[in-house]
Symmetry: C2
Subunit: 340 residues, 2 copies
């Protein structure tokens, strides 16, 4: 029974999240019962949505319970099994949380919470990113909400993140002018040179929506037809000022407001004036599109059309700092923690 | 050639609109050219959208030109004709504007801007209200955006207006709990007793969104599935706090912001948390649904299922005051000006 290090949430943030909200706990993995599987995690995923779950207020997901291991996606290898469907050595994706090992129960397996993945052409870690939840999130927002037509302009904030990079590849393959918003010249250069964006706007020099809107206008001379929103706040205000008539906005995240500061939408009348559609969504509620999306994304990664960048922190102890960095945009590409 | 009184827009409002923005001008109707029709207006329509056109800033419609007759819908009778399709005596709907007579050109006729209406079962004035643009607006927002299912709760602000009263009849006929928001106890009583609303919230006692939200919650114990928004500002904020997951909001008007005061949406994160869809629309861009909508609305009025109330001002000179009253909610039902 190997030792298992876990990160628990021990108190809730008052405003900004800090490392003191988390605690490292060392346990032993328990003996398996019939039907159970022990997974050793190779990578765990850090995602912005986790910040929302740290608050006590109910959002679409239940709050993360105090005194328990932080939840989250993981990929790894079956190291012990009492379930014939998941033999030792199988590479798997699951919701193992912020820990080195997880025991997956028959109930969780029955709920589809453990899945064998094919690592022949796609690296294991990508099942937490481009060929996982972030990639499918980009796919749903683009295909089902932004409904791109060739020649239109598609915009995504947090452009170099896991969602943004997948969005770029998917949007370009549909013949759209594809523009990103990212923080800093280095990220913007990377977005254009490596991710295939046609243009990228650095939001950092801008302190008001009007100034940022002007920069977006230069990058989107024909206006914006579809926007995938990861940020909210001033960024969304600036995007709204550039939306074309009948534009579509997929609301996926509002990371700018996760610390609880009020974050109004400044120009809601633009929704009316430009007959915009805004739609919030959670990709886990649209499981019917996952196979189609994963197939397209897996093919893109396997053929090199999508080469997602990863920010990899080393060791479970690094997870809280890496997570707080993610919330501040310090990551560059999909934020992972490597555990092995 | 009869005398024709017109109301011109002579300057633009700085903040609130005032009577000094308008001027009465007396002209003569010109001699008709071939293909033209002279219509004597019986009623002209006053609508909130006209306030938006008084500003110089381009909205979805071009600004109202200065020194010209205010635009708007009219119903009347053909009194002189050089067009065989529109004989003298025909009752017609058109966009005649704020004047007693209008000359309709062949080009306007070719563009569908003059239509003979059947007054056998439906009074002429209703073609400016329940069986006209406001009714079709309610129909589109309800049927195409709020997508009501029997048993759901549908909410509409400006409940006793032309749009709100049509919305109520259409929503009730689809088996929905139908709740209105209106200003004052008298309007609320009328909404319930005469228009068929299940409940009506008086917004006037409330000075903040939280307080109004609580009152809406009492009227909508199962939350709100569809909202037809005519007001914006604090009212929309309060509605947003009551939207159910997967709720739909049709954005038709934001009368609260027409005077140019900033009017942010305070809780945009709710769009994400509750996976809401918000969509702005203009009914004139969806001509394909007009026949179906007008048929349902016409039948409802003809059979007495929808008995729309009208606020009727007398004489062209009364139009500016009546219009400013409409913007302040002083009207009770569809605001018209009777010209004959």
């Amino acid at each position: 029974m190997p030792q298992n290090k876990q990160i628990h949430l021990v108190n809730r943030p008052d405003g900004e999240a800090t490392v003191s909200n988390f605690q490292l706990v060392v346990t032993q993995t328990p003996a398996l019962k019939d039907g159970e599987v022990l997974v050793r995690h190779h990578y765990m995923s850090l995602d912005p949505y986790m910040r929302g779950r740290m608050n006590a207020t109910k959002s679409y997901a239940e709050p993360q319970a105090l005194g328990e291991t932080m939840g989250g996606g993981t990929v790894g290898e079956v190291v012990e099994s009492k379930n014939a469907a998941f033999p030792v050595g199988a590479k798997v994706f699951g919701m193992g949380g912020w820990q080195e090992y997880s025991v997956v129960t028959p109930a969780a397996i029955a709920g589809g919470m453990l899945r064998i993945v094919d690592t022949t052409h796609v690296g294991l870690s990508h099942y937490l990113g481009a060929v996982g939840m972030p990639g499918v999130t980009a796919w749903y927002g683009l295909v089902k909400i932004c409904t791109p037509k060739a020649g239109e302009t598609m915009l995504v904030s947090a452009a170099t993140g896991a969602v943004g990079s997948a969005f770029a590849a998917l949007s370009k393959s549909r013949g759209c002018r594809t523009v990103g918003i990212a923080g800093g010249a280095e990220k913007c250069a990377y977005a254009i040179e490596e991710l295939g964006f046609d243009a990228c706007v650095d939001y950092k020099p801008h302190t008001d929506a009007g100034s940022l809107a002007k920069a977006i206008r230069e990058a989107c001379p024909n206006g914006v037809d579809g926007n995938f929103e990861n940020v909210g706040g001033m960024v969304l205000d600036a995007v709204m000022l550039n939306m074309n008539a009948f534009g579509r906005i997929a609301l996926c995240g509002m990371i700018a407001g996760y610390d609880g500061k009020p974050m109004p939408l400044s120009y809601p009348a633009l929704m009316l004036i430009n007959r915009l559609t805004l739609r919030g969504f959670i990709v886990s509620e649209h499981m019917e599109i996952w196979p189609e999306a994963l197939k397209e994304l897996g093919t893109m990664v396997a053929t090199g059309k999508l080469r997602p960048r990863e920010s990899i922190a080393q060791g479970i102890e690094s997870a809280p700092e890496a997570f707080l960095g993610l919330l501040k945009g310090k990551n560059f590409g999909k934020q992972l923690v490597k555990l092995i």
